[in-house]
């Protein structure tokens, strides 16, 4: 449940869209932000902090505004439209892990900094992503050994939140990145994000709470899906707008491309795909709010399958409709597609979701 009124939620989204139009235009502000060195925060981050967005889903006690998943999705939608590359979602997800798995002291220690001081964190979800980790108690704290090939925004993060699953138990750990046991080697992804190859060698970590965190992690994974679906939907919406505008303006054989029936049908199909992706965002919201782990897991996978498949296809068509121009770095449609490819690779994409649904349906293993 959100504490934000509809007007307040609208105002946030509109203020964000305005700021992005001014500060993060595709050819200017955005390019400047993408040229920043891997270990530094791009200027866009400060703008997001100034708008108060970092406390969106945290409670007032810790400096937040008590928003919910639908508020988060509205922000992600705008960030997707503008192709924003930032640790906003990562940080929000880490904050949620601390909020629901951490003790009161742990929440007091870390959440205010995330809500108000512009600190960022990166989530290393080892079990979900095929990375490996071993955790052992060590003198009041824990010692982690592990590796993950691709952690978005790890280089600028003050802390990592590492989620680990053994056969019997799951746990979340918070680690400072500035310690000898943590190494982050920058890796540039094709969407412009600086990710890192993360190695943990006897890295000192705090365990969040002390109980099995499996279901809690599942809830935050659902939030991640909801956020990425919303971002993908924002990209699709904007790419369709650009395609329609291009078809109106581009003339060949003496007429605008928009008058060719084949292309009109293509646009109609893209609109249907966009609407399906909007609905996938709703499925993901329902997943987040579902108390039943199996139902939540299934809805998440369905949302991911429909959204990622629809948006990937739509963005391919957007490139096609732009002709040769769609293949250039100067036009945004190719950049939307690159971002979608990164999302697909990091999450398993539509094929991964389909696999998860089959596994779950026919063998009872949870998808998320």
């Amino acid at each position: 449940m959100t504490a934000l009124l509809p007007d307040e939620s609208d105002a946030i989204a509109q203020a964000l869209r305005r700021m992005l139009a001014e500060q993060y235009a595709f050819s200017l502000g955005r390019r400047a932000c993408l040229a920043v060195q891997p270990a530094l925060m791009a200027p866009i981050w400060d703008r997001l902090v100034e708008l108060g967005l970092c406390g969106l889903m945290l409670d007032a006690e810790h400096g937040g505004v008590d928003g919910d998943v639908s508020d988060m999705q509205r922000v992600q939608h705008e960030l997707g439209r503008a192709l924003v590359v930032s640790p906003w979602l990562q940080t929000l997800l880490c904050a949620q892990l601390i909020r629901i798995a951490g003790s009161a002291d742990q929440q007091d220690r870390w959440l205010p900094g995330l809500a108000q001081d512009g600190q960022s964190m990166a989530w290393v979800d080892l079990a979900a992503s095929g990375g490996s980790c071993a955790a052992a108690p060590d003198d009041g704290m824990w010692s982690l050994n592990g590796y993950h090939a691709t952690v978005p925004h790890a280089c600028v993060a003050g802390h990592l939140v590492v989620t680990v699953e053994t056969g019997s138990e799951s746990a979340c750990f918070v680690l400072e990145t500035a310690q000898a046991g943590v190494s982050c080697s920058p890796v540039r992804l094709m969407d412009g994000c600086w990710a890192a190859e993360v190695c943990l060698r006897d890295a000192r970590a705090y365990r969040l709470g002390s109980r099995d965190a499996r279901h809690l992690i599942g809830r935050v994974r659902a939030l991640a899906v909801a956020g990425l679906c919303a971002e993908a939907c924002g990209m699709a919406e904007s790419a369709l707008e650009m395609s329609v505008q291009h078809l109106r303006v581009r003339h060949q054989f003496g007429q605008p491309l928009a008058e060719y029936q084949a292309l009109r049908h293509r646009v109609a199909d893209m609109w249907i795909a966009l609407e399906q992706s909007r609905s996938a965002c709703v499925l993901a919201q329902e997943a987040v709010m579902d108390e039943n782990a199996a139902a939540r897991s299934r809805l998440c996978a369905q949302a991911q399958l429909v959204a990622y498949e629809s948006v990937t296809w739509l963005l391919q068509q957007a490139i096609q409709l732009h002709g040769g121009m769609g293949m250039t770095d100067e036009v945004a449609v190719g950049h939307y597609y690159r971002r979608m490819l990164v999302i697909n690779a990091l999450t398993g994409g539509a094929p991964g979701a389909l696999r998860a649904l089959v596994r779950e349906q026919y063998s009872g293993a949870a998808a998320y």
Partner: protein, 397 residues
């Protein structure tokens, strides 16, 4: 197994043997990773092929060709594609050479063909313009006669390799008053000519292969006109119809699919096991392989004598549409098989990125991005379908 003559089988064996000894292993690895060959790679390879007598397989024997049948030509290209090895230089050999052989004067043929064959000169193609893509005949780059020169003004776009090529063959408008197809000429232009400037275009894969070429009062000797003035559109149509042999890209798709299967053996999937063991992946691989097998027979049937000229034209469109769809589906599978290593951006040494950012790993994601162009270049698929539909309606009783 496609039924082949002993002669074709023997040719395949010869080509394989040649490739195994002549193709540099480093070049092969780079091509497998999805990188473009460099200018030096292309020149070196063209010369190796030429030394073997295979520099221009489709040309008449008296100009350096092999005398092979269409089937043998295709077998040769397939054996190269499946390694992968580069084909003969596309602009010199597949595009310009046949135009000169058919339409140029004997003097021009003698002057140019040996240089094209030996890659002493590299050409690029100046056809498309910002306002003339699918509607190429609407092009506006003009060539006005001034004594024994043409003065060329205008702009070409999507010119692959113009940044390292030596010459460009251009469609230019020599009669602005005629019906658009009837006022075009085919001109050879030295890229070192005063008045030419080249602007790089960065593609969505982050790489530089395309360019814009600007012509500002460029003087071109009239003896660089190919054939007759204002007949250039016929020569262009001839050129564009000549790419038949590998337009379906079956061998290229097969090679990429087999590479995807190889990578998939090492790609973990959530829930355990590898992508190679995944039912969904296997189904898609099998499906694409079956369709490629059928497409392969389609292109062979179109080479037989019983195929009418109009069927061959329509067939080329069908091969392009279906071939690019299968190629793009294959490249999606390859991207999945590349897993997260396929995510990495390509960082060129000359883009001031810090040293730590240079990635030596597979950049298959980058190469995948370029595959989206396959349905756009060479006549966008939408236009191909128009051509095809016309044929179907014309020929259906």
């Amino acid at each position: 197994m496609r039924i082949e003559s002993a002669g074709v089988k023997a040719l395949r064996a010869q080509v394989r043997e040649f490739l195994s000894t002549q193709l540099d292993a480093g070049l092969r690895e780079r091509l497998r990773r999805g990188e473009f060959p460099t200018r030096d790679d292309l020149v070196d390879w063209q010369r190796r092929l030429a030394r073997r007598g295979w520099g221009a397989p489709s040309w008449p024997v008296e100009h350096g060709g092999t005398g092979w049948s269409d089937i043998e030509q295709l077998a040769f290209l397939e054996e190269c594609a499946v390694v992968p090895a580069p084909a003969p230089h596309v602009f010199n050999i597949t595009m310009l050479g046949p135009v000169l052989i058919r339409f140029a004067s004997p003097v021009q043929r003698d002057a140019w063909l040996p240089k094209l064959l030996a890659a002493d000169v590299l050409f690029c193609q100046g056809f498309s313009e910002p306002g003339s893509g699918s509607d190429l005949a609407s092009l506006r780059t003009s060539a006005t006669r001034d004594g024994d020169h043409y003065v060329v003004n205008g702009q070409k776009i999507w010119t692959t390799s113009a940044h390292y090529a030596d010459w460009i063959f251009c469609l230019v408008r020599t009669d602005p008053l005629a019906r658009k197809q009837n006022g075009i000429s085919f001109l050879l232009i030295d890229l070192c000519s005063p008045g030419i400037s080249i602007r790089p275009i960065i593609s969505i894969d982050g790489r530089h292969s395309l360019n814009e070429v600007f012509f500002d009062a460029v003087r071109v000797p009239t003896h660089n006109l190919v054939g007759e003035e204002n007949r250039g559109w016929d020569y262009a149509r001839f050129l564009l119809g000549n790419e038949r042999a590998s337009i379906a890209g079956v061998a290229r798709s097969r090679e990429r699919l087999s590479y995807a299967q190889e990578l998939a053996l090492q790609t973990p999937v959530a829930g355990g096991g590898t992508l190679a063991q995944d039912a969904g992946f296997r189904l898609r691989v099998q499906h694409i392989q079956a369709e490629l097998e059928a497409l392969d027979r389609t292109q062979y049937r179109l080479f037989t004598d019983s195929a009418t000229p109009s069927l061959r034209v329509a067939g080329a469109s069908a091969l392009k549409v279906k071939g690019t769809a299968l190629y793009q589906a294959t490249m999606e599978l390859l991207l999945e098989a590349a897993g997260t290593t396929g995510l990495h951006a390509r960082v060129e040494p000359d883009v001031g990125a810090p040293a730590a950012a240079h990635q030596s790993r597979e950049a298959l994601g980058v190469a995948h991005l370029y595959s989206r162009a396959a349905s756009i270049y060479g006549g966008a698929n939408e236009v191909q379908k128009n051509i095809l539909a016309r044929h179907v309606f014309d020929t259906t009783p």
